[in-house]
């Protein structure tokens, strides 16, 4: 007959399944008759208890340095993200100059809805002529702006909940 003290010693190996079948059967038989040992067993198989039993790994010596480097990189990313406003402003100014200022821009914008309505009447709308320099500048501005947005999206803090 196995004693309570012996069962307490074997309990951890029993819970881990790291025990010979005959020993495990003896522990199982004891647990079916002993309320105290059964309570110990129930506690041993509970998740918080088992988590507490795990040993915490020692942090790497470089951990603090890596965290500080990551934080520093984020700060640097935050400040450097604003420098992209410079090429964007230059490109926007160039495009505005090329379109003869806001008047040109508004003349480009005006007539869009009229042109769309003319599609319904069966006539093709008038497409303003454009040269490659302006198209390249527009596409360059879009690419820089999209890249800038991707940086700002990464800098935006996440939320922890669903």
């Amino acid at each position: 007959m196995i004693t309570c003290a012996r069962v307490r010693v074997l309990l951890e190996a029993y819970v881990d399944g790291d025990m010979a079948a005959a020993d495990a059967a003896r522990v199982r038989a004891h647990l079916s008759t002993c309320a105290d040992c059964r309570r110990q067993h129930d506690q041993a198989i509970s998740l918080p208890f088992r988590l507490r039993a795990l040993s915490s790994p020692a942090p790497r010596p470089s951990l603090v340095g890596e965290v500080m480097q990551a934080v520093g990189a984020e700060r640097a990313g935050y400040s450097s993200s604003w420098t992209l406003l410079v090429p964007e402003t230059v490109l926007a100014a160039f495009i505005l100059w090329y379109l003869s200022g806001l008047d040109g821009l508004s003349s480009i914008a005006s007539g869009v809805f009229g042109d769309l309505l003319s599609l319904g009447s069966g006539s093709l709308p008038h497409v303003p002529p454009v040269d490659v320099v302006l198209l390249v500048a527009l596409i360059a501005l879009m690419v820089v702006a999209a890249f800038h947005l991707s940086i700002l999206v990464r800098l935006t803090p996440r939320v922890a909940h669903e």
Binding site: W82, L116, V130, M142, L149, T156, P157, V159
Partner: protein, 242 residues
């Protein structure tokens, strides 16, 4: 003072402040006209007759005009200011609360990111970049025949995004008022109502109002974009990696 009156009094005060600022906006615009003077406060007293009569049968706006006590400024027109509040102000409040009612969890995600470190600056910067991107994209699309029809769609998406962002900013301002002035707890929609009134008040500041509203709209657009309309997952392309 009983705590339950704090929020109603704050909201009433913000509404009155909005009307007073609109009165000042109308009066000052007569002395130093701006191209945006009618954008928020509507047509001035002298142009009311041009409005079709079926929208203004009483002509009250012509009767409630008072001379300005300060020489050189235009007349004071509290009726027109009230009209501005009941049109633009009420529209802003209605849209903000509707957006929060329709997308509460997305609004919460967006507001939490706005309230986090550098959230406001990032939203404003992203909004500025989005304006440039939208202008470049619509101009590019204007030079095509096939994608001409996409121009109104692009502008509509930008408008919806900005409205969603303004609604979130209104809620954030309401929460800021609650924290900063240690106001009693209140329903979040009431806080959003107060926040949207603050946005309206900013918009009717003489001269600076249009620029303040543009900044809020840009920040709202940027907030909607960087949070992908308040999506909890944000911008992730995991689903494409299969």
């Amino acid at each position: 003072m009983n705590e339950r009156w704090v929020w109603p009094l704050l909201i009433a005060g913000l509404a009155v402040l909005g009307v007073v600022l609109a009165v000042a906006d109308i009066s000052i615009a007569t002395r130093w006209p701006t191209p945006f003077s009618d954008a928020l406060v509507g047509p001035k007293y002298g142009t009311v007759q041009a409005v079709p009569l079926r929208f203004d049968r009483t002509g009250v706006s012509e009767k409630f005009i008072f001379a300005s006590p300060v020489a050189g400024f235009g007349p004071l027109s509290p009726y027109l200011a009230l009209r501005a509040f009941l049109t633009n102000g009420a529209g802003l409040v209605l849209l903000a609360i509707s957006a929060l009612l329709a997308f509460p969890s997305r609004a919460r995600n967006a507001v939490e990111r706005l309230e986090a470190g550098h959230g406001a600056e990032i939203a404003l910067g992203a909004g500025l970049v989005m304006v440039l991107l939208t202008l470049a994209a619509t101009t590019l699309l204007r030079f095509t025949l096939l994608f001409l029809a996409a121009v109104p769609l692009v502008l509509l998406v930008a408008l919806v995004a900005a409205l969603f962002g303004i609604a979130c900013i209104s809620l954030a301002i309401g929460r800021l008022l609650h924290r900063r002035f240690k106001l009693p707890a209140v329903h979040p929609l009431v806080a959003a109502l107060a926040g949207s009134l603050v946005v309206f008040d900013l918009a009717v500041i003489p001269y600076a109002g249009v620029f303040a509203l543009a900044a809020v709209a840009m920040a709202g657009l940027g907030l909607a974009v960087v949070t992908r309309f308040g999506s909890s997952g944000g911008w992730t392309f995991v689903d494409l990696n299969f």
